[in-house]
C-alpha cells in the first residue's frame, strides 16, 4: 500500500465549475500537508500549505485536512482555463531535519473554456 494515494484522473470540468481534488494517506506521523501545481514541462510550485487539521482559504483555493480520516482535499472555485495543470498532494512529518516530502501521483486537471 502506498503511503499517499491520489486519483490520477484525468479530470475535465467546464470553466466556472467547482473542482474537488483529494488524497488519502496511511502514515499518522504526517503533520504538514501541501498542494503543488505542476504545469507541463515545469517544476512543481507550492499552491497551499496546511499544518495539522483544519481549513485554509486563499482566494479561489481552499485546502482541508481531516487527520481523523487521513484525508485531505483541495477545492478550486470558479475554475479558470489557467488552472489546467497536474495537482500533486504532498506531506511530511513534523521533525526538524526531516523535510522529506511524500507525494501523491498527481491529478491531471483540464478546465474546458
Amino acid at each position: 500500500q502506498k503511503e499517499v494515494e491520489q486519483d490520477p484522473g484525468p479530470l475535465s470540468v467546464p470553466e466556472g465549475a467547482i473542482v474537488s481534488l483529494n488524497c488519502t494517506y496511511s502514515n499518522s506521523a504526517f503533520q504538514y500537508f501541501m498542494w503543488y501545481r505542476q504545469y507541463s514541462r515545469k517544476g512543481p510550485e507550492l499552491l497551499m500549505y496546511t499544518y495539522s487539521s483544519g481549513n485554509k482559504e486563499d482566494g479561489r483555493f481552499t485546502a482541508q485536512v481531516d487527520k481523523s480520516s487521513k484525508y485531505i482535499s483541495l477545492f478550486i472555485r470558479d475554475s479558470q482555463p489557467s488552472d489546467s495543470a497536474t495537482y500533486l498532494c504532498a506531506m511530511r512529518p513534523r521533525v526538524f531535519g526531516n523535510e522529506k516530502l511524500t507525494f501523491g501521483t498527481g491529478t491531471r486537471l483540464t478546465i474546458i473554456p
Partner: protein, 114 residues
C-alpha cells in the same frame, strides 16, 4: 529573486552510458533536494543535502547514482551506467533549511535512456 536553475533541460543517452545533471539552488538556501519523477507519478526523493552534508539518501540507488554538493551551493547528480528505467524527470529543489516548509523546485531535466 532568481529561482532554482538546472541544466541541461533535456538529455537523451543510450543505456550503459553515463550522464550528469547540475543544479544551482536559490541563494542562501541551505537545503537541497534531488527528486526523480517518472511519467505519471509524483516526485520521489533521491537525496537531501543540508549544506555540504547528506541528510537522507535512503532511496538513492547507490550502485549507479551519486551526488555531491560543492561548498554547500551547487550540486551534481550522476548516473553511471544508466538503465532504461532511469528515464524520468530529475527535479532539484531547495529550501531555507530551518523549519520552513516550502521547497522551491527547478524546471527539471528530462532524461530519456534508449
Amino acid at each position: 529573486e532568481a529561482g532554482v536553475a538546472q541544466s541541461p533541460r533535456y538529455k537523451i543517452i543510450e543505456k550503459r552510458q553515463s550522464v550528469a545533471f547540475w543544479c544551482n539552488p536559490i541563494s542562501g538556501h541551505a537545503t537541497l533536494y534531488w527528486y526523480q519523477q517518472i511519467l505519471g507519478q509524483g516526485p520521489k526523493l533521491l537525496i537531501q543535502f543540508q549544506n555540504n552534508g547528506v541528510v537522507d539518501d535512503s532511496q538513492l540507488p547507490k550502485d549507479r547514482f551519486s551526488a555531491e554538493r560543492l561548498k554547500g551551493v551547487d550540486s551534481t547528480l550522476k548516473i553511471q551506467p544508466a538503465k532504461l528505467e532511469d528515464s524520468a524527470v530529475y527535479l532539484c529543489a531547495s529550501s531555507l533549511g530551518d523549519t520552513s516548509y516550502e521547497q522551491y523546485f527547478g524546471p527539471g531535466t528530462r532524461l530519456t535512456v534508449t
